[in-house]
Amino acid sequence: MKLIYEKSVPGRRGVQLPDCSVPPHKARIPSSLRREKSAVLPEVSELDVVRHYTNLSRKNFSIDTNFYPLGSCTMKYNPKVCESVAKNEGFSRLHPLLPQLRNGGILTQGALKVLYNSERFFAEITGMAEMTLQPMAGAHGELTGVMLIAAYHKSKGNNKKRILIPDSAHGTNPASATIAGYSVTTIPSNKDGVMDFEAFKKELTDDVAGVMLTAPNTLGLFNSHVTEICKLVHEIDGLVYYDGANLNALVGRVRPGDLGFDVVHLNLHKTFATPHGGGGPGAGAVGVIDKLRKFLPVSRIEKRDDGTYALNYNAEDSIGYISAFYGNFGIILRAYAYLLMIGADGLREVSDHAVLSANYIRVKLKEFYDLPYDRICMHECVFSASRQMKNGIHALDIAKGLIDLGFHPPTIYFPLIVKEAMMIEPTETESKAELDAFIEAMKKIAQEASDNPEELHNAPISTPVGRLDEVAAVREMNLSAN
């Protein structure tokens, strides 16, 4: 499809603006401060734009159109009511600086109440003392969390330099720890697919500031040593970080705070059903135990004795500003609506069925694909394409084959510790019929991998483009319209 720029016709207009209502003014901006040439933006009609982007949208897979069993991404259904309530003008037109005008908090009580209540809900769900909703994505939450860990050690005069992270962790963990000023030590996984406990103990010395864990881990396995790990880290005055990417396995049933975690981040765009938007915006709430409360970023939302809400900007020990205001408010509002809808009972059903569905796929497919860790899993299961590799079929080929059968591929080549990994997370919102259709598709591909591997190498053939040359993309670096 042509770029919108290529559809441009000189003089064509999309939006009609009002005539200038003010009389001719005294001071125009001098030409020395003006741009020489107009920005070369498209000259198209409103219909041109609507049709262009509508047709572009049709080149996408999405949850609304396809099953999306993407491991570690929790692609569950995004309820429509959460979208519609967020469009309420009382929220969408609300200026973020309004609370800073005199008596300003009073002008935004509805929004502050949403934030306050959401904080309470998330604190209850995670078993944490206090939350901040400011991080604008999961990785942003990780950075905030590690900054909180750093602030704690600084306040105690602890001289700690390292963060321990298992090799199965998401790449954001080591990246976040590094930009928060720590060096990262990677701990290998053991044959059971969880962090090697002995290797961990060996690395756990006095200079360790904290440990970052994903529970269940990226293999969909729950590390039974987790409470012991927390205890050992606490013994050297370290802190344990909970990466909430996989909370969908535990939500409503297990609280990270009860397990001994000190800092938690949540991905509202995973567990709490806000849409991914093709890569964002997300939101990454962070929770902490009581002794870390005072380090949370400014501003803090407080409930006054008279039942009104206010913002507190005075936080002496705070790590400061990690967001200009209160985070991705529109996303938090959607998650709040979701929580109101499903309530405590609904939350437990979420994890129950996320785990039930993943195990169903696991048992139904293990005859056809290698399952490196063959045991009950949590919300996702990881297969390997190693059996199909003997016929020259890789995880990538299986992924592309699934596309032709109408399914979004699972996460492939992650976690790195499984060769030719295919990580499947069905979520709780897919019906049995949909799971069965996916299982049949996977079987069909397994069959094709042995009967007719060449066909799979050519997949996908049903999409607007086939496999793209990524090497050429890097070498040619064609990154904007000419």
């Binding site: 999309g14 003010v22 005294k26 901006i29 037109r93 964002g280 985070g327 009950i376 992924a399």
Partner: protein, 449 residues
Amino acid sequence: MSRASYVPFVESERQELLKEIGVNSIDELFSDVPREFQVKSLNIPKGKSEIEVERRIKALSRQNRTDLICFLGGGFYDHYTPAAIDAILSRGEFLTAYTPYQPEVAQGTLQAAFEFQSGICRLTEMEVANASLYDGGTAIYEAAMMAARVTRRNKILVDCGVNPIYRKMLESYTSNLDMQFECVSTNGGTVNREKFLKKLDNSVAGIVIQNPNFFGCIDDLTDIIDAAHNVGALAVMSVYPISLGILKTPGAMGADIVVGEGQSLGLPLSFGGPYVGFMATRKKYVRKMPGRIVGITRDDQNRKGFVLTLQAREQHIRREKATSNICSNENLCALASAIYLSLMGKEGLKEVAELCADNASYAYYKLLEIPNVSRAFKSTFFNEFCIKLPCDAKDIIGELIDKGFAAGFPVGRYYEGMENVALISVTEMRTKEEIDNLAAALESVIRDW
């Protein structure tokens, strides 16, 4: 079974699944988690119906004063968002898609992101742009880190005209790193050349400047950027994209890294987010740039297609050595901005900018006619300006709320000694009547003081 967990299973299906798995209950699937750590119940209200949730959130929304006539800006503006944006954004194919790691089924998202990058490049007159960052503040921080990476130096000079909230963010993010920041105070509302030149030496990684700055003042910053280049430092410039409909571009001034808050390009104010940060730079620095980047390539049948490219910079490959930890960005907001730029187009964006400037200019002189109101700076401005009031701006703005106006921002909140100064922004949304009414209201408040 609650009414709305969106779980589609009926009891018989659940039993069937359990049987296939070979367990008797869902509880058995959680046997790895010690019993004592499984909660019985949570202190969260029972689930509600859609009608009840809508009603409750509507009631909450009424407790927010969005009825006030908005002259409040400070980097976040009440611009018009054409209806077509929301119509397109509501399409599930955009809204509920994941990050485009499988390009064959994400050409829509990828091409739109490429068009966003192109729009940002054309607006700023820069060579390459990424597919978005979280917001304008984190974009400045990422740019400062990028300048340090490119120059292998660690000192950043920040102009005090840069949004004070963003400066606080910069400080917070780098407090544990080997980075050094120095704020350079402004002079007459714009960059203090003399002070900047004095501080510029070959230890400086980059300078961070903003145009228009927080006071609304605009300037040609070419000389200060040249001075930075002379000592081998990079110039990071934060911009207000609507203003680039008419203002001299950062590219023309020689900036190396251009960042900004994209909220004004078709996003609602939404109490602070989600917004969209953008970043553009020169091609030679692209490998040091954070965030996702979309590029053009071809498939085996020579059909044009779009992919995420230069991914070796990113956390999922480079881990602790990545250019940034960013993963999720603000893709849907970037899409809104791409649509906005297309709808406005070449002439429309210029007209919006002219309307803003004309309205602001009218408002400025109208307000200066009020006794005891005077100019705070002599500098030229775009759509936002500072005026000096006879007493604390906080109190006067407070009084004006009762008259139905969010009249501006009290600058003294962030700048010591400027307690009497109000920052007033005027967009294309304001009419002559509203401006006249603000002037009348301000005059009466000051008269009765």
